[in-house]
Symmetry: C2
Subunit: 359 residues, 2 copies
């Protein structure tokens, strides 16, 4: 199938529609990657590199500063919400359909500016990557950082994930632990022969309920932390005293803490219990003290807020590149069957990035 | 297939083996029921009635007292533990294999005495029934009580379930409830937008841990009660604040309490929570104040203990017939892959019942 031809300089909402209407559920990004690669290669001011279904397009103007502007091209599965359509919701015009929020509107802004800004005031590396919506081991940006770390060098990064067109700096880290209790099985008719592992969970929940949440200031933004049981299970049958129970706890911690800090803290909170770390990702500092970030905030006139959800900005952070999230669409509509993005946010993101890169 | 021929007057351990070696997992009792029916019909002192795969054999000597002696003929699934074999375990001779404890040794004692005691000192109704090990709605004794309640009339009943050849009177009742908590779902990155339903379980577990267990005397036996969480579940995914959690609690209550008493008590204990009764069976009073029971205890010289597990004695109790459990085998070995019954207990149960019925 020949690649769908994309006109990168058309209206950015039209470009968003064209991108959304190329179905690209994770694992099926080849067609859209082909279209993007072909379209970008038409612009001589860009050096285009392809790695599997990720495409990197760079200016090489010899500027003193290089910024990375990134977005993923895959979506979660379609839920009878393609092709896109324009719709007025509560008096506001929206582009409705899978990918409009997460995150092809952001990708459209990237592509239009990549094509049109032949001489930005900083060097720009435009990154379009695959496999963001699936297991982290498949993540296209992770693969790029292993295969071509040179392409991810820069002073500051913008990830065009949806933020309702506001600036959201960095992100909290996240850690999941399993806390287990043990008991002794017995028939529940002779309960005193056993030891009830579910009853032992009381103390775990008591510590969670007593826990004082912290707010931590990092680079001028205040991050709210949280500590919550997310899963609980235990028991064998309705006539057996249970010999094991398990609580899965999710800790969201400020980006000033390392994974080791977070683990040490949880082991202290749940001292006396068996704790197993099952999953951990460090947060990302917002890096608002970087000159490129300050310029971005000044150019857009927006006020930065902290980002709570973990995003790929943490991958930039791990590479030593401070990063913010900035993109059209309400993140609460991401993955929703009624995913839809206010078109004015697409235009305002385009205008803000253009202003910053041409100021 | 012609029925396997049973010699009811052979050695009771040999008869137990013959019964065990006719595989009769619940739902597959037809062959063993045919063998039992054919064998019993050879004895003119017995009136034999069949209802599906249950068989009732009665003497009609015009005695002033009628006792019911019952046992089920089905087993739980075979676990590579048939055919039976004789084995010496810790210096004690055992009959090993599925059904030896639960409860074909008891059935063998019944059959041998049914055949041999042509003139017992009370009228005896010997009951052999199907589908005890499965859903209560299928229980053969329950079906008999609906189809032929006249056959279950009597003054006292002995259920030959395993009691290590001791007398266990009555049984505790059992009730299961589900206690639910509700919350408000939210992404765990923005936990403060939600309300955690798992955290709300703390108070349920606290009440269970604080609960004072009662010992209740009924007809001279002391019943220990218990209240335990047996299952717990909650949560949706490791990145979602859970909006619901559920604790299943099993209450074992003394036979002096009705189901309504038990429910009212639990609703008081868990006041403020949503409580749903999912399952309830009343207990059975031991009825040791009945003359036939007193005669049984006097004849055997045994000391009665309370039974904790729920058994079909409660069905007799519901019909107004006090009942005890008395049979060979350790109940802890019932359903075990290494199910095995000390042969001396089979002989001692035979001797005790014989002495009682001929004293």
């Amino acid at each position: 199938m020949p690649a769908v031809s994309l006109n990168l300089t058309t209206d950015v909402v039209e470009l968003t529609r064209a991108l959304c209407d190329i179905e690209s559920v994770s694992g099926n990004e080849n067609a859209i990657a082909n279209s993007i690669e072909t379209a970008l290669r038409a612009y001589p001011h860009l050096d285009v590199t392809r790695d599997a279904d990720a495409i990197v397009a760079r200016t090489s103007l010899g500027r003193g500063t290089r910024v990375l502007i990134a977005g993923h091209i895959d979506t979660v599965p379609v839920a009878d919400n393609l092709p896109t359509r324009l719709e007025t919701i509560d008096g506001v015009q929206h582009l409705w359909g899978r990918g409009t929020v997460d995150m092809k509107a952001g990708v459209a802004v990237q592509l239009k500016l990549a094509a049109e800004l032949t001489e930005p005031n900083v060097d720009v590396t435009w990154i379009f990557y695959d496999h963001e919506e699936v297991d982290a081991t498949l993540n296209g940006m992770g693969r790029l950082s292993r295969n071509r770390p040179d392409l991810l060098e820069g002073d500051f990064a913008v990830l065009c994930e949806p933020t309702s067109a506001g600036i959201e700096g960095g992100c909290n880290g996240t850690m999941r632990i399993e806390i287990s209790t043990k008991g002794v099985k017995a028939h529940s008719a002779r309960a005193w022969m056993g030891v009830n592992a579910i009853h032992a969970v009381e103390e775990i929940l008591a510590r969670l309920n007593r826990y004082s949440l912290q707010e931590v200031e990092v680079d001028g933004l205040v991050y709210k932390e949280s500590l919550n049981a997310v899963l609980i299970s235990g028991g064998i049958a309705t006539n057996v005293i249970p010999d094991s129970a398990k609580v899965t706890v999710n800790y969201r911690f400020a980006p000033s803490k390392s994974i080791a800090d977070a683990e040490a803290h949880l082991r202290e909170v749940f001292e006396g219990f068996q704790v197993k770390v099952t999953d951990a990702s460090a947060g990302a500092r917002p890096g608002l003290d970087q000159p490129a970030a300050a310029a971005f905030i000044a150019a857009t006139g927006l006020v930065a807020r902290p980002k709570y959800g973990w995003t790929d900005v943490a991958r930039f952070s791990a590479l030593g590149v401070p990063a913010i999230n900035f993109g059209p669409g309400d993140p609460n509509k991401a993955h929703a069957d009624d995913e839809s993005c206010p078109v004015d946010q697409i235009y305002s993101c385009e205008a803000a990035l253009r202003k910053w890169l041409t100021a």
